[in-house]
């Protein structure tokens, strides 16, 4: 158990340090996210009432796109500088290492993403309850996005046109997360209970956490081993 914690904390600390040093990896998706929300607002027009109605959809679609663009930061730099091969040689189980890398990716991206989404949602005048629901769905949804995303990222690593391919592969798999999150926000706007959606998201997150590290590790071995 101690060994497991040692390996995990070593990988997480190293990756977090990398994110701190290469801040653009975590910051650029946020800018991208704000730009997409702005695109939605401009396309809808100045009618604030209509925009408030479709804002949950717009915000969540923007989150999905920003996440998809950002997924390759999990493995790509390690692939380029050869760290991945070293990790393969490590006696520690690869799923543990991969799981830790996904966890640090989530730490580095989810926090800022939640903060900026809440600020954006509040700024466009969504009710407090809806903003709170957005934060809750993001808190449960973002690990799902990172976990499933790691599989597609591992499958497409180092391929020509990998980013596009990754989006094609992963976006259909994000559908349940999108459905439960936006439906929770719609219910919140109508003062309906949101417990069911939250439970579903939590269940999905648990499932993704228990399966995705193994799938990603296998995918990495297939592609590079």
């Amino acid at each position: 158990m101690r060994d497991v914690l040692n390996v995990a904390s070593a990988v997480v600390l190293r990756d977090l340090r990398r994110y701190v040093r290469r801040r653009q990896d975590a910051v650029q998706p946020l800018i991208f996210f704000v730009i997409i929300v702005t695109l939605f607002a401009v396309a809808v027009g100045p009618d604030a009432e209509i925009f408030a109605k479709i804002a949950p959809a717009g915000i969540w679609v923007a989150i999905l796109l920003a996440t998809t663009i950002n997924l390759d930061t999990i493995f790509l730099s390690d692939y380029h500088d050869g760290t991945i091969e070293q990790l393969f040689l490590s006696p520690a189980p690869l799923p543990l290492i991969v799981g830790s890398k996904i966890f640090s990716h989530w730490c580095a991206t989810a926090g800022p993403q939640i903060a900026i989404s809440v600020i954006v949602a509040a700024a466009i005048g969504l009710e407090l309850r809806v903003v709170g629901t957005l934060a809750a769905t993001l808190l449960l949804g973002s690990p799902i996005l990172s976990l499933f995303g790691s599989v597609s990222s591992a499958l497409t690593i180092g391929l020509r046109g990998g980013a596009m391919l990754q989006a094609l592969i992963i976006l259909p798999l994000y559908m349940p997360t999108l459905i439960f999150s936006t439906s929770a926000m719609h219910n919140a706007a109508l003062d309906l209970p949101i417990t069911a959606e939250i439970y579903f998201l939590a269940g999905l997150a648990v499932m993704a956490a228990s399966l995705a590290p193994f799938a990603s590790a296998t995918a990495l071995r297939i592609r590079l081993g």
Binding site: L155, P172, L173, M175, F200, A215, I222, R223
Partner: protein
Amino acid sequence: MITIPFHKYGTPKYFYSWSLRLRPWLKYGCILLFTAGLVGGLWIAPTDYQQGESFRIIYVHVPAAWMSLFVYIVMALAGACGLIWHVKLGDIVARACAPLGAWFTFLALLTGSLWGKPMWGTYWVWDARLTSELILLFLYLGYIALQGAIDDRRTAARAGAILAIVGTVNIPIVHYSVEWWNTLHQGPTVSKLDAPSMDTTMLIPLLVMALAYNLYFVAVLFERVRCEILEFERNKNWVNELTQPKGIV
């Protein structure tokens, strides 16, 4: 004592020869069943009291929709065999399944939307089953795109297997979440095994058509697999003996 060498039938070489022997059976069985099913469905089956003649598209639509899911599962299982037990045939079958499954899905969507026009008054609605069928099509296209992007065949097949397995885990979740999200599609009428809410003269042609689709799938799949085998094993002796004209050394 006679023992059946199952492991032998799974090798590409033996698969090639025994599937070639099955070929006429599959071909004529498929043609026969298609004729029977279409005649039964388009002429013999009674007109639906509510939907009129346009209900007859189910004889093309419903089997295609069944096949779309079935082929995905076959693809994932074959891929898993290749991945776990390194069965070369599994890799080849999985690769050959993908375009077939994508076409079945497309056919189900196309016929569904043609049927939707007289029934719902519009070609497309964001109904739960239509949407989850569309997502299934996206999953197929993603798989095919991944296959195309990786040059090495074995790596491509094994990476595809991972994707197909992840997709299989997700299909029920996608299906039920979409169902929950919105439903307009009519409820299932055949799956209730004890008493299908369908007349027998309507039901039998549908089941015959389903069988015909299955045979068609197997026939075309074997055809594709044989082509892949020839390419895969092009450096092997037995392939050279097959493809070289006789008499030339």
